[in-house]
């Protein structure tokens, strides 16, 4: 069964209700579960796991059923369990490590560097201009291009279960002429080096994990059969984000029973240009003759006007988009319907005034300043309502965050490196630095800061004397390891000072007792030391992040046997490394009334607010024609090399002849996905919506003029037309 569910139509509630009904039947041994079968719910993100578990649990309790009989997994946790259970079948051992993203990136970097050293003339010839000679600037640029190319090829190839050799073979020979094929060859060679590094480190990356799980089911029929007995019904949430491997995995698990229920919205597929997800997969599934397609088109989330605007975007794109190739590519032709009287979740009522604003600013700074001011005012004036600022890039988000901080406005940040995640790395780096240098007073001060970060203390009214005092500590040994036979007081560890209040001494004393307990943990291997400290410092919800840090340090330690804790901590403290670790998805998030949410468009998915500001709706963020400017585009290479190569490789792997060249395909995909992203942004709003852009925007070191997004102009026109019609109707 396939369920196409529009935004706000209640996907989670539907999944919970279905699970509950199946489990109700299980009590009597009826239905597809029999007496011992369980329901497996597969979703996309960890955050959704908790939400789904909670909702299903609540539903079961309501029905008086025991909260048992179902499992909620992400694709990765499902695959991890399978591979860990049968490592021998798929060429690994039970102690394999899952490569954290930072380590995977580091392996890509190393492989890129190795390849680049051995092929100077190859990448030299790809430089812009006529000369094709080595130049330092191009070398730096090439490293970035190669990194992006390699990541794209590796991800796409693994999702097609292509090994590096196969990739290179595809792009070798007479049929493989031209730049795109050459890029694929390069990507394949870097992939080869990367994979060697991954395998010899005893690790598998995220793609491998799913690939191996699929290989396991393919080879081990008994395992597949047992899993099918255990999970006779599988519900797949967010199916529009499904990657080919996920489809294959779940397809194999349900091959015997046929009970695979896919719930998703093809129009909210917004990860296909940078992951292996493909919106065509769900659409194709919905159209299969053996699949019962169910439409969930009633949505009670948004007010009438906002819902109309979203529907207008779909309709205009499907019917009248200037590029014909986009009409069938961007959206599934479906529209949202208002809820009817009696529905428990009625649509909010349209406000009397304008509930949708299209705003134009001269400079980007004005756009950000005005938006943050208005959002703050709204949050203050309407403490029961929720409000969000949606930005297209993290960079823009950081700028808005700065403005909000300047205004001392409280807000939740959901950017690439959110404050919370950054603080976990900082906390751990500071705590570890004391264990690495216990006799160092700076390290004492940093450990104090780590406890403050971990505790999330609000700023003190008066400057805290303790950190400065700790920095002046000249006898750390007396503070952290006082000799029992000596009669001492905390202040003996410091030079004579005056004006320190007793509370400060008391807090320092408590601090010293606490951190002294960390020091014996220095005897543990670095990953275990990290987790031991994290256990003392962090709330349980942050431990998964601490584990990432632990694995990162463990890898460094394995790679550099001569390094000890001081070097490892220095590396962790390095800002660039810290940033590379900050790629964890946010765990469950609920917008809080009266508090602004600042988020990227991608992270806004699945959430809703009363008022939504969508910033930067311009032609750079939302290119509309093939001639527009695209991010990552290299003029002299005819497009984004990563996208060119990926498209070429996938076409070649399918054995088909592409009707368009790789560059055009990639640009069309980008145009389509940005339209869906705008659709997602609009459908986050319940009552009010603001779309804005600026004429002059910063680009690197300069400022340049940009046009509004084509969709912005069209939606503005359509909205005004509807308003006029409605006013006339009202006047009549």
């Amino acid at each position: 069964m396939g369920v196409a569910a529009v935004p706000g139509s209640g996907k989670t509630a539907t999944i919970a209700a279905l699970t509950s009904r199946l489990l109700e039947q299980r009590v009597d041994g009826k239905g597809p579960l029999g007496r011992r079968g369980r329901v497996l719910v597969v979703t996309y993100q960890n955050a959704a796991v908790d939400t789904l578990r909670g909702r299903i649990g609540a539903r079961l309790r309501e029905r008086g059923l025991p909260v048992t009989g179902f499992d909620v997994r992400t694709l990765h946790s499902l695959s991890f369990g399978l591979v860990q259970a049968y490592p021998g079948h798929v060429g690994t051992t039970t102690d394999f490590r899952v490569l954290d993203e930072a380590s995977a990136n580091a392996f890509v970097d190393r492989s890129v560097a190795d390849w680049s050293r051995a092929h100077v003339s190859t990448w030299g010839r790809l430089a812009p201009g006529e000369g094709n000679v080595y130049d330092e600037r191009w070398e730096g640029q090439w490293q970035r291009i190669a990194r992006s190319l390699a990541s794209s090829i590796i991800g796409a190839a693994k999702n097609r279960r292509l090994e590096s050799e196969a990739v290179i073979r595809l792009a070798t020979g007479e049929h493989a002429q031209g730049l795109a094929a050459q890029l694929v060859r390069i990507g394949g060679q870097i992939f080869e080096g990367y994979q060697r590094l991954v395998e010899t480190s005893g690790s598998i990356d995220f793609n491998d994990m799913v690939r191996l799980a699929v290989a396991l089911l393919e080879q081990a029929e008994d395992v597949t059969e047992r899993l099918a007995q255990r999970w006779p019904v599988i519900l797949e949430d967010e199916a529009q984000d499904s990657v080919p491997l996920q489809e294959e995995l779940l397809g194999r698990l349900t091959a015997a029973t046929g009970n695979w229920i896919r719930v998703g919205d093809p129009n909210q597929s917004i990860t296909s240009t940078f992951t292996a997800a493909n919106p065509k997969l769900l659409r194709a599934y919905l159209e299969r003759h053996d699949v019962i397609a169910v439409e969930m088109s009633v949505s009670g989330r948004s007010a009438h006007r906002i819902q109309n605007l979203a529907n207008d975007l779909v309709r205009w794109t499907c019917d009248r988009y200037p590029l014909e190739a986009i009409r069938a590519r961007a959206f599934r032709d479906q529209s949202m319907q208002l809820t009817e009287v009696g529905d428990p979740q009625r649509n909010p009522v349209d406000s009397d005034g304008h509930s949708i604003l299209f705003r134009q600013f001269e400079h980007r700074h004005e756009e950000l300043l005005d938006t943050s001011t208005r959002a703050a005012r709204f949050a203050g004036a309407q403490p029961d309502a929720t409000v969000a600022i949606l930005v297209p890039t993290n960079k823009m988000g950081f700028d808005v965050a700065e403005l909000l901080r300047e205004r001392k406005v409280g807000f939740d940040e959901r950017l690439q490196s959110s404050r919370n995640v950054r603080s976990v790395v900082d906390t751990m780096a500071r705590a570890l630095s004391l264990v690495a240098q216990p006799a160092n007073s700076r390290a004492l001060e940093r450990a104090w800061q780590s406890l403050e970060l971990a505790g999330g203390d609000s700023p003190r009214a008066t400057p805290d004397q303790a950190p400065r005092l700790l920095r002046s500590c000249y006898r750390p040994e007396q503070l952290l390891a006082p000799r029992e036979e000596e009669d001492w007081v905390t202040s003996d560890a410091f030079p004579p000072v005056s004006g320190i209040d007793s509370d400060t001494w008391h807090r320092i004393d408590r601090f010293a007792r606490r951190v002294a307990k960390w020091l014996p943990a220095a005897a543990l291997p670095v990953d275990q030391l990290t987790m031991a400290l994290a256990h003392d410092l962090l709330p349980e919800d942050d431990l998964a992040m601490a584990h990432e840090i632990a694995m990162f340090l463990r890898r460094l330690s394995d790679e550099h046997p001569a390094w000890r804790l001081p070097e490892l901590v220095a590396e962790l403290s390095d800002a660039a490394v810290g940033r590379s670790l900050l790629s964890q998805p946010d765990e469950g998030y609920e917008p809080q009334p009266g508090r602004i949410t600042l988020t990227t468009l991608h992270k806004a998915k699945g959430l809703e607010w009363d008022l939504v500001y969508v910033l930067g709706v311009d032609s750079v963020e939302y290119p509309a024609t093939l001639e527009d400017e695209f991010r990552g585009h290299q003029q002299h290479l005819g497009g984004d090399p990563a996208q060119l190569a990926r498209t070429w490789m996938l076409n070649a792997a399918d054995g088909g002849q592409a009707t368009l060249d790789g560059g055009t395909e990639g640009r069309l995909d980008t145009i389509a996905e940005r339209l869906r992203l705008l659709y997602v942004a609009i459908t986050r709003a319940c009552r009010y919506l603001s779309l804005s852009f600026s004429e002059y925007v910063p680009m690197g070191q300069r400022t340049r003029r940009v046009e509004p997004a084509l969709a912005f102009e069209q939606l503005q026109t359509l909205y005004q037309a509807r308003t006029v019609t409605s006013d006339k109707g009202a006047g009549a």
Partner: protein, 732 residues
């Protein structure tokens, strides 16, 4: 032979007081009964005037030998007699015979220098030698595509050598067996060929250089020595034979027993019910049962089903149901549920905290003495040890950790000792890391980490690779910061190291022995450190003795060894003996088999991480499989997933039975929903017990979180803690 006649223990003991010649088979429950039976028999034989040198006692593990001797001495009128009794493992017997009868075997077996003495390899030196063989092969592309750390490849290859030896078939058969059983992708068959090549090269190298690894010692004894007259004469002295734990014997040991029993005046074979925990090391519990037919008498010690045993029966019924669903009721569930208490938490850290709290509560309330509590886990990582240690120390509750040591380089004591060795050997070129020097000083001077860091920074001259003299440090404030006593100790240490530097260079193991004897050993030295250091010395000594055959000489040897430790090539890979753990302390043991091979009982057991896949051993590894390599495995039979599944359930069932047999009052079942990295925990064991908890709803006080979705368990998951790096010594 018919099933044994079951009698109460006192009547069985009575029968063993009859010195009548003959072969007796006794079935005993798990626990100390087996030792009790053997000691009674020995007392009878010695009391009847049998000379001790005619008695051979075979044990499954060597570390119990001293326990036996002490107990026997205490029972005898003349305690000195106990010293003359031969107490051995099968491997000990074999290697002793090889040493004694080397001239008989050397030429026949094809050794290159039969007139020279053999060099016995330890697990580490064998691993080193194997790494020398495998490294060039890996560069040629061997094992490409397997995701394994190099250490794992080495240990699996050594496992293959050992499996051929303990099963008594030619080495050449290994690859053939593995290939014939393989049901996965044909492409993977090449790995077995590659593994075969490596082990054959290894064996050829051993023969050429007179090196005898564990597998070769067993092979020489089984194939060359035993059939010969000289060995027959040597073994004929043992006219009385007692075997403890015959179910833990390997096939060639069973061959030996079958043959030797026919020549003895009397034999006692004690078989512990439901044992055979080390199938992964090649033991054959079924083959052991066949030996019963060679006995004149067969007796069983009564062991009525206790409430705790019903838990095992319940779990096993549940596991069987996964193989062959019956849907039937569990007859023991009600009783079983009265003996268990769940400790469940969302995160692992939380679970450990709760376990600590519960242990403290048991002791403080007077319900239990520390020595009556055992905590078992598939692995005892640093976080577990650290958190428990902190909690129990806070309440002055003694505890002992028995765990597996993975790598010498992760032991601060070893790193520190090697740093001091480098400082004491003027000729060494390596300059130790300041961190290691501080660790070394901390160990020899019993310094806290802060003062060790202060002293290390002041005293270590890295440029010249030496310690500064006390005179050079006279001007600093060290005296004040370290205290007079430590300052004086530093002078002694410095002088000692100077003497070492100035004296003739000595082998590393000699240096370590002196370091231990003259500096390190103190009355308050942690016994675990003593054992670790002894292993360390033995490891360095074995390496030195093997060095000429590895083309190393002189100074190279010590430095190369130190490098190997730093690179992690030297895997400590041993489990601390249970005999070392004091009996009046809370016992923390990992892996579970270590606990089961000992006879210790507990009133309260805590089973940790029961959701971990590590409870459910996967026998099948990419390069080895103990079942397929077992003698009784029909060559050509496929290793199917169904068999794999059954075997793993069988092993888990044995573990559970063994644990229950060692608990007298209550078992705390402890799990967390998420493991450290944030992945869901899932295992058949968890499924079996959560069914017990949730379905029966008889256990009170369960954490409210358990009202959330149950863990379900996963009928397809599981593994052993460190299955492929286990000590390859089959008997020691």
């Amino acid at each position: 032979m018919a099933d044994p006649e079951n009698l109460p223990l006192d009547r069985v003991l009575e029968r063993l007081k009859d010195p009548t010649p003959g072969n007796v088979w006794v079935e005993s429950p798990q626990g100390p009964t087996a030792r009790h039976l053997i000691l009674t028999q020995l007392q009878t034989w010695l009391g009847a005037g049998i000379a001790p040198r005619h008695i051979l006692v075979l044990l499954p593990q060597l570390d119990r030998r001293e326990h036996y001797r002490r107990s026997l001495a205490a029972m005898l009128d003349d305690p000195a007699l106990s010293a003359g009794v031969g107490i051995q493992t099968y491997y000990g017997l074999a290697s002793r015979a090889v040493r004694l009868l080397w001239p008989d075997v050397a030429a026949a077996a094809g050794f290159g220098n039969p007139l020279d003495p053999p060099v016995f390899l330890t697990y580490e030196t064998a691993q080193y030698l194997m790494s020398q063989i495998v490294q060039p092969k890996v560069s040629e592309g061997y094992f490409e595509g397997l995701t394994m750390r190099p250490q794992r490849i080495l240990s699996q290859l050594l496992d293959n050598l050992n499996k051929a030896a303990v099963n008594g078939y030619p080495l050449e058969e290994v690859g053939q067996r593995l290939k014939a059983a393989w049901t996965g992708e044909a492409e993977s068959l090449r790995y077995f060929d590659q593994a075969q090549t490596c082990i054959e090269v290894f064996r050829t190298h051993c023969l050429q250089h007179n090196l005898v690894d564990i597998s070769l010692a067993i092979d020489l004894f089984h194939r060359f020595l035993r059939p010969g007259d000289a060995c027959e004469a040597y073994l004929s002295q043992f006219t009385y034979l007692a075997v403890e734990g015959v179910e833990e014997s390997v096939p060639v040991a069973q061959d030996f027993l079958a043959h030797h029993m026919s020549r003895t005046s009397a034999s006692l074979l004690v078989h512990r019910r439901h044992g055979g925990f080390r199938v992964f090391l090649g033991v054959d519990p079924l083959g052991a049962i066949d030996l019963r037919d060679r006995c004149n008498r067969s007796i069983g010690v009564d062991s009525p089903l206790r409430p705790v045993d019903t838990l095992a029966e319940h779990i096993i019924a549940d596991l069987n149901d996964l193989v062959q669903p019956t849907g039937g009721e569990r007859p023991h569930a009600e009783t079983a549920s009265t003996t268990v208490c769940p400790i469940a938490a969302r995160h692992r850290g939380e679970m450990i905290d709760r376990v600590a709290t519960q242990v403290v509560e048991l002791v403080r309330s007077g319900d239990a003495e520390p020595g009556q509590i055992a905590i078992v886990a598939p692995y005892a990582d640093g976080v577990l040890r650290f958190v428990l240690q902190q909690a129990l120390r806070e309440h002055d509750i003694p505890f002992a950790v028995v765990r597996r040591f993975e790598s010498l380089r992760e032991e601060p004591l070893v790193r520190g000792a090697l740093a001091l060795a480098a400082l004491a050997h003027e000729g060494w070129t390596m300059r130790p890391h300041p961190w290691d020097v501080a660790e070394g000083l901390a160990a020899v001077m019993d310094l806290d980490p802060v003062r060790a860091a202060i002293l290390g920074r002041a005293a270590y001259d890295r440029g010249n690779g030496c310690l500064r003299s006390p005179t050079e440090l006279a001007d600093s404030d060290l005296r004040e910061r370290l205290g007079n006593e430590k300052r004086t100790i530093y002078e002694g240490v410095w002088q000692w190291i100077q003497r070492m530097r100035e004296s003739e260079s000595m082998p590393l193991d000699h240096f370590l022995r002196r370091l231990f004897g003259e500096i390190l050993s103190r009355p308050d030295l942690d016994p675990a450190h003593g054992t670790l250091f002894a292993r360390f010395i033995a490891s360095a000594e074995a390496f030195r003795k093997t060095a000429p055959a590895l083309n190393l000489e002189g100074r190279q040897i010590g430095e190369r060894y130190a490098e190997m430790v730093a690179e992690g090539v030297v895997a400590a890979a041993y489990e601390a003996p249970m005999s070392q753990a004091v009996s009046d302390a809370v016992l923390v043991v990992a892996p579970v088999t270590t606990y089961l091979l000992d006879e210790r009982q507990a009133r309260y057991q805590f089973w940790l991480d029961i959701g971990s896949i590590h409870w459910w051993a996967p026998p099948h590894q990419p390069l080895t499989n103990p079942h397929v390599l077992a003698r009784r495995w029909p060559i050509g039979q496929a290793w199917t997933d169904r068999l794999d599944f059954q075997q793993r359930n069988d092993v888990l069932g044995r573990l559970v039975r063994g644990l229950c047999a060692r608990a007298s009052e209550r078992i705390y079942l402890c799990w967390s929903e998420l493991e450290t990295a944030g992945a869901e925990q899932d295992s058949p064991l968890l499924q079996a017990v959560t069914d017990l908890v949730l379905d029966r709803s008889v256990i009170q006080g369960i954490d409210s979180r358990q009202e959330g979705p149950d863990q379900g368990g996963f009928d397809t998951l599981g593994l052993d803690a460190v299955p492929d790096a286990g000590p390859t010594d089959p008997d020691d």
